[in-house]
Symmetry: C2
Subunit: 319 residues, 2 copies
């Protein structure tokens, strides 16, 4: 699969039913768009929706009108659908209604979204810079985990962004839990902030760890793991080999990887591909990843995460 | 269907795969819980998850371990699943893996969630009161639509809540669009704020309209429609008849309904049931609805929305 043309060699149209982030990917429509359909043809996109949204669409008032529109616009032989998101009952309903061949194109859609267009890279960069700016302004002294979360997420909101995922702030022992749920614990080191903004539809994902004293040594190992990974991430590199390089590096110090080294980011913060020991895809120009090496001990953990764009001979860290 | 026991007359266990709000409904676990399963038996709930979350679960390290756990714990003959949410590909995968009968129990789960437990009603009330308090503190004079949204959503966050849906603030002509996306337009009347908080897993949904001058008359008609609806909403009332009462009332003045009169609220702000012309369910004690009669003209619209709990002889407005 190189681009969307390959999908249209298999199917005549792609049917996306909301909620599915591909609805935004193809239409660029923000808003709720409940019970809406985007129908993607090689040369145009048609939208079928209830009459509550702002945008260009074939609006329907009731189920009968919706079915009529679907049949009329999807008068084709082979329909591609996103089996990774379309609920089973919707699949059965649509197949019965349209009585044509349904082809699952979820893998192709996932890969299509892995390689970003330049406007998508620009949007991710804006989301990253917004997050980095907020991180810069964040004060932790004497604050609780929850208070820091509230500050960060309010600042996002004031800048027209939303949290791309629930912000993680962990102090002390809580840093040992990768998906810690913030509580009223007051600031102590080690501390960890994992945050990302969704801005105009695209996500960032950034983690900072703060340590003092003996934790510095571990911090340096994780940081070296991060730069080792980024140095390997260029066009043509195999994702699982990047993972293994970092795994082997940590192993030299007796540490293990507890989760993936990174993941693609885009419309979703976890946008489809994970850089782990089984990742059998090859890095290509204009893929964008969050890289987040981490080491968790019994009493604390360190994770550092940057977002990078793959370029021909290197990965560009978004700053 | 009266309660969950009726589901277990059809199936031996219910399999919920995240993301699905029923995962929280049954486990009461907050947190991300990606790629996790809740398996609900008549007498216990088992959770299968990757090892990143905080909570009691059978943690798996890789796909093989996950499959082994699924087979071991789901050693039954009939599995109930949520066909309204489970993606088609996951259905195919799980059916192939477990090789037993899969029964869609989505309708039963939806109905189960329609009648709230007392702890759920208490949670919705907390979410409503939090929203009403923020609305009280919201100032609109000289502010733009977006600035009002930011204020409201920051206040939610400071109170440990999140927006249950993207807050709608519409000024002037923008009130004519039911799902208006806030922009930089400065405050003028008519104005509309539609907001809801999700607090500890449960949602509120409240709308206020502000009018001056000749809009007052229309406001009074919508408000009368609201109280007419609430007066009809008691145990035993048919949802579509409540809708029709309001439709007929508005028709007397020459106005039409442009969307449903209301919807059930709970873990989701649209929690499964809509009060529209085709709603063939009967109201029962402990159902909770957002009631939102509205009239939209060409140049402005008015919507008023309250959340109510159905009681034996009346509906209780949550204040």
């Amino acid at each position: 699969m190189r681009d969307i043309k390959d999908i249209f060699e298999k199917v005549d149209a792609i049917l996306i039913k909301s909620p599915d982030e591909n609805f935004f990917y193809f239409t660029r429509y923000h808003g709720m768009w409940e019970n809406s359909f985007a129908i993607v043809f090689p040369d145009k996109i048609e939208v079928i929706a209830p009459p509550l949204e702002e945008g260009k669409a074939h609006f329907y008032k009731n189920k009968e009108e919706m079915e009529k529109l679907l049949k009329k616009i999807l008068n084709v032989e082979k329909i591609g659908f996103n089996g990774a998101i379309l609920p089973h009952n919707d699949f059965l309903y649509l197949k019965r209604l349209l009585k044509v061949k349904f082809v699952d194109v979820s893998k192709e859609l996932k890969y299509l979204r892995l390689i970003k267009r330049s406007d998508e890279i620009a949007a991710i960069k804006r989301a990253c810079r917004l997050s980095l700016k907020i991180l810069d302004e964040t004060e932790v002294e004497e604050k609780s985990e929850k208070e820091v979360v509230y500050f960060i997420e309010c600042e996002m909101r004031k800048r027209d962004a939303l949290p791309a995922f629930p912000t993680i702030v962990a102090f002390g022992k809580n840093t040992a839990s990768p998906h810690h749920i913030p509580e009223n614990k007051k600031f102590v080191t080690p501390a960890l902030i994992d945050m990302g903004a969704k801005y105009r539809g695209y996500c960032s994902d950034i983690t900072r760890s703060f340590v003092e004293g003996r934790g510095r040594k571990l911090y340096e190992i994780v940081e070296s793991g991060l730069y080792l990974a980024i140095d390997e991430m260029r066009e043509g590199a195999k994702a699982k080999e990047v993972y293994k390089k970092v795994e082997n590096f940590f192993a030299k110090y007796g540490y293990k990887m507890r989760h993936a080294l990174g993941h693609s980011i885009g419309i979703n913060v976890h946008d489809g591909y994970s850089i782990n020991e089984k990742a059998d895809f090859v890095l290509k120009e204009n893929m964008v990843f969050a890289v987040e090496p981490a080491i968790y001990l019994k009493n604390y953990g360190i994770r550092i995460e940057e977002d990078v764009v793959i370029r021909k001979n290197k990965a560009e860290i978004i700053r």
